[in-house]
């Protein structure tokens, strides 16, 4: 996906940048001329050229120690609308190798995990998390999720706030969460870049960063930006102020992009000065950075969709989207995902019309992309239950929704919503082996994640303390090492 960043930049310019050719272009020359008569060095000093610093804080993620294995006997929900009774899931070198019925062969030498009576699903993906940026403990000194100093902070990156020792990563994993999309908060029109992570314990952010996952940018509609900045007697103080703020930012980003494109084309004058804020929005304009838009109300989502047309970019996902059901056909037609809660409502005016059937009604449209998200360190541990409540509401409304379909709301659709559907979110050959073995039907309140695999590595085992990691913060705290109710399983 990173490569997409280069779309819109001339081939010659890329060649120049990549090869570091000196005197690559002169005014008025065609690319062919450029290649023939390179006349200007467009190599910039380190850190000054956006095109050569696409990934300055690269992932160092390595899967945990793993072995080849097969889960047999379970009811498998593949994440692709498929349910296999007494199924077999074969994992080779951290990838799904085969998924099928009981006749699926298990290669010799593979460890066999007996899961009769249990359920297997893809690893759960939470597309809206603030773990690490709003960690536990939520005390002074640790609240790093909202750079609420200016309405446009597209220049900040959530990954630079992420504290890998947040105990919430461990509890989320114990709830089956293998991938998290960590976002800045919603105080600003542009809150900054989000980062997608593998949910493994790590000393550094880079150690859990999802390799090659696209960058995202958090935008926020509605009450939050206008309340935060209106309260300081500055813009935006209203919904119209919000819109003016977004538009001004995209105009600036267009201008910035044009300057870079022109300079790459003709090499005239000094290179534009790198601007991190515009650079993020330029990524939106060229399609390499995916918009993740906190937006509750249907009328506001419609405005955001028109604004995307005005400036020529795409919205990937609306978050919270409490009124998505009012706009379900338009969302589906535009290919925009809606990430929703089931039970949260009424905490502010833009959440007043939230209904439990939101996901089911969005989902009922052809071409839709309904996602259940958390935005919460407790709810992320139980996204399967939030999906179950959404499924239950849909059935109450008379919709015939299967569990093998609804599991997609927290797996395959979630992967699509953050641009990693080619990597994970379903149990299909070639995908990363992110696998959860549940003690029971995951749509039951009593189901627990027994074992959680990330890239084929066992990262959590409810019955084996050797696979129940704790963060540094938890060591030596009150209650550490003791068990409540003589229960020795689970994360906390």
């Amino acid at each position: 996906m990173i490569g997409h960043h280069l779309r819109g930049v001339s081939l010659a310019a890329i060649t120049c940048a990549v090869l570091g050719l000196s005197a690559c272009a002169t005014t008025g020359q065609t690319p062919d001329d450029t290649a023939a008569k390179p006349s200007k060095d467009r190599t910039l000093a380190a850190g000054l050229d956006p095109a050569t610093t696409l990934d300055p804080y690269p992932s160092t993620y390595q899967p945990l120690p793993r072995e080849n294995f097969a889960v047999v006997g379970a009811t498998v929900l593949t994440g692709t609308d498929r349910k296999i009774e007494n199924g077999v899931v074969v994992v080779t070198d951290g990838k799904i190798a085969a998924v099928g019925d009981a006749s699926t062969p298990v290669p010799s030498g593979y460890r066999v995990v007996e899961a009769r009576g249990r359920y297997v699903t893809p690893g759960v993906i939470d597309v809206h998390s603030h773990l690490g940026v709003y960690p536990s403990p939520g005390v002074s000194g640790m609240s790093d999720g909202n750079e609420a100093t200016s309405p446009n902070t597209a220049q900040v990156w959530a990954e630079h706030s992420l504290w890998p020792q947040d105990p919430g990563f461990n509890t989320a994993r114990a709830g089956g969460v293998t991938t998290l999309h960590i976002l800045p908060g919603s105080a600003n029109l542009f809150g900054g870049r989000g980062v997608t992570i593998r949910n493994v314990p790590s000393i550094t952010m880079q150690g859990l960063k999802f390799p090659a996952a696209p960058y995202t940018v958090k935008m926020a509609c509605g009450e939050n930006p206008s309340r935060v900045y209106g309260g300081r007697n500055q813009s935006p103080a209203t919904g119209m102020g919000n819109m003016a703020g977004y538009r001004a930012a995209f105009i600036a980003a267009r201008d910035y992009k044009a300057k870079w494109d022109k300079w790459r084309e003709d090499g005239e004058g000094a290179a534009p000065t790198r601007n991190l804020q515009n650079e993020t929005l330029m990524g939106v304009l060229d399609g390499s950075i995916l918009i993740q838009n906190h937006c509750y109300r249907a009328d506001e989502m419609a405005l955001m969709m028109d604004m995307a047309k005005e400036f020529g970019y795409r919205i990937t996902t609306f978050h919270h989207a409490t009124e998505a059901y009012k706009l379900a056909p338009q969302l589906a037609a535009s290919g925009i995902c809606a990430a929703m809660w089931t039970g949260w409502w009424g905490f502010k005016m833009e959440a007043l019309d939230a209904i439990e059937e939101n996901a089911a009604l969005v989902d009922a449209q052809q071409g839709s992309c309904a996602v259940i998200h958390s935005d919460d360190a407790e709810l992320t541990q139980r996204l399967n239950q939030e999906a179950a409540a959404a499924l239950s509401a849909g059935r109450r409304a008379g919709l015939n929704i299967s569990e093998e379909h609804a599991i997609g709301w927290i797996t395959s659709n979630a992967a699509k919503a953050i641009g990693i559907a080619d990597q994970t979110g379903s149990l299909e050959p070639g995908k990363r082996a992110d696998v959860v073995i549940w003690s029971a039907d995951p749509f039951s309140i009593y189901a627990r994640a027994d074992q959680v695999f990330i890239d084929g590595a066992l990262t959590f085992d409810r019955s084996n303390p050797a696979y129940q990691p704790t963060s540094d913060f938890e060591l030596g705290q009150p209650g550490y090492g003791l068990t409540a109710a003589n229960v020795t399983e689970g994360a906390r």
Partner: protein, 459 residues
């Protein structure tokens, strides 16, 4: 073929059939049922609150449960077939804001918080509760038929507290005016204008970090201030006539607050103490012993570390079993097994809903289910939603159980009420069957239809 293709067709079909569905669907109000009607719910699995009866019959008459057992329906009774279903007492929301807040961020709709510096303990929440609140039908669809509505304070679990929503703006700077947040009330969730069951059932006070903040910042200040306050209350109670003729030394509380605290000081009105840290729980238990006050613990995330102490003191606990994160330094030992551990130690527990049990009161049943998956016996989880809250608030036998003489608060579920995939098919409050409607369901139905005219015409 993608399932949504099929679903799209199903929606279209349903849309066409919507008017007919509206007449027959379970979401529509049934004809009003009089209090004098006899109703027999037959054939279901009955959770009485502290036992299970398979294939039983519940008979409701004159607003109350008259019998429960294996007998048939009495002649003349309206029979509700509950074969294959589960029949449970209506759940009791504890630590709730139901009927006291419509929209969290709209302060004009918030009757749960009071900031006058002349009145704290005397604040009587019962005057502000709205029987027409749209929060009530929503909670009812989650099987809730009663609520203990409590005043909020800086340590409350009430309100939408996610930092994503509040950061940058602060949380309004609300401070309770004194050590006490005010007095709780019991309501029923029956449709109609008369929801108040009993006002002034308990006093509410924060301890721990929130309580210390009120006293000046340190726990050691709050405990001293608390004891000094109780001594003033006792002084006042012994010398009312002197007080009235201004013959008593100046007291720090208003007369209304002093009056309200007399039953707390003499141990007849329970004090709901919001507290989290194990050491704070120990200190509060000690305070109660020294002062002769009757406690109910609220929160108690670290309670499992001192479960024996809580049990020995005979103090009940209102808790949320899903609080398992060290959200701050007074919850570092929070564990999902807290409910199981306290129950095993013999503590009477009640399970709360989420975010102050107002809009998300309906999630109490899921919280109970999660307590079960973390070691709490199933029967104890049901009791923690039914008989235990009634017992804790002095209403044992009056509601919260399916037993002769108890209020006719009964819910018929499609299956296990703790499962999200189960839904209620009938809800009775005081023997009156309630409409299975709510404002969110009206929105749902409005937007499921497709008509030439805009949704605003679909009423």
């Amino acid at each position: 073929m993608r399932l949504s293709h099929i679903l799209a067709g199903a929606v279209a079909a349903l849309s066409l059939a919507a008017p007919a569905l509206a007449q027959s669907g379970p979401q529509v109000a049934r004809s009003a049922v009089g209090q004098n009607e006899t109703v027999a719910i037959v054939g279901g699995r009955i959770l009485t609150g502290n036992s299970v009866i398979e294939n039983g019959t519940v008979v409701i008459r004159d607003g109350k449960i008259v019998s429960v057992g294996s007998g048939g329906a009495p002649s003349g009774a309206r029979v509700i077939d509950a074969a294959g279903k589960t029949v449970a007492p209506g759940f009791v929301a504890v630590d709730s804001g139901l009927a006291g807040n419509e929209v969290g961020s709209v302060s004009g709709t918030n009757e749960l918080r009071n900031s006058a510096n002349t009145l704290s303990a005397a604040f009587d929440i019962s005057y502000g509760l709205d029987p027409w609140s749209f929060t009530l039908p929503v909670a009812r669809l989650g099987g809730i038929t009663r609520a203990i509505v409590v005043p909020q304070h800086p340590g409350s679990s009430g309100g939408h507290v996610h930092e994503d929503e509040t950061a940058g703006a602060g949380d309004g700077g609300y401070q309770t005016p004194g050590l006490f947040a005010g007095q709780a009330a019991i309501i029923n969730l029956g449709q109609g204008s008369n929801i108040l069951v009993k006002p002034r059932v308990a006093m509410v006070a924060p301890f721990g970090e929130a309580g210390a903040g009120i006293a000046g910042g340190a726990r050691g200040a709050q405990f001293v201030l608390f004891k000094e306050t109780l001594s003033e209350v006792r002084l006042y109670a012994r010398n009312k006539s002197a007080y009235e003729r201004a013959g008593l030394r100046d007291l720090s509380l208003s007369r209304a607050d002093l009056e309200a605290l007399i039953p707390v000081a003499n141990g007849t009105m329970p004090l709901i103490v919001t507290v989290h840290r194990a050491s704070d729980i120990q200190q509060v238990l000690r305070l109660a012993r020294e002062e002769g006050i009757k406690l109910i613990l609220d929160g108690a995330e670290e309670g499992w570390l001192v479960a024996g102490d809580i049990a020995a003191a005979g103090v009940p606990v209102l808790l949320n079993p899903i609080s398992n994160l060290p959200s701050d330094f007074e919850m570092r030992a929070a564990r999902a097994e807290n409910a199981a551990a306290l129950n095993a130690a013999g503590v009477v527990i009640a399970i709360k809903g989420n975010e102050g049990s107002t809009h998300r009161a309906r999630e109490a049943r899921y919280n109970a289910g999660n307590a079960v998956s973390h070691g709490l016996p199933y029967e104890a989880a049901i009791a923690a939603l039914t008989v235990n809250p009634a017992k804790i608030f002095g209403m044992a036998g009056q509601f919260g159980q399916i037993a002769p003489g108890a209020a006719g608060d009964v819910v018929v579920w499609s299956g296990d009420p703790l499962e999200p995939l189960s839904q209620p098919s009938a809800v009775f409050v005081n023997g009156v069957e309630q409409p299975l409607t709510s404002r969110p369901l009206m929105l749902r139905d409005r937007y499921r239809q497709q008509t030439p005219m805009p949704p605003a015409y679909r009423n």
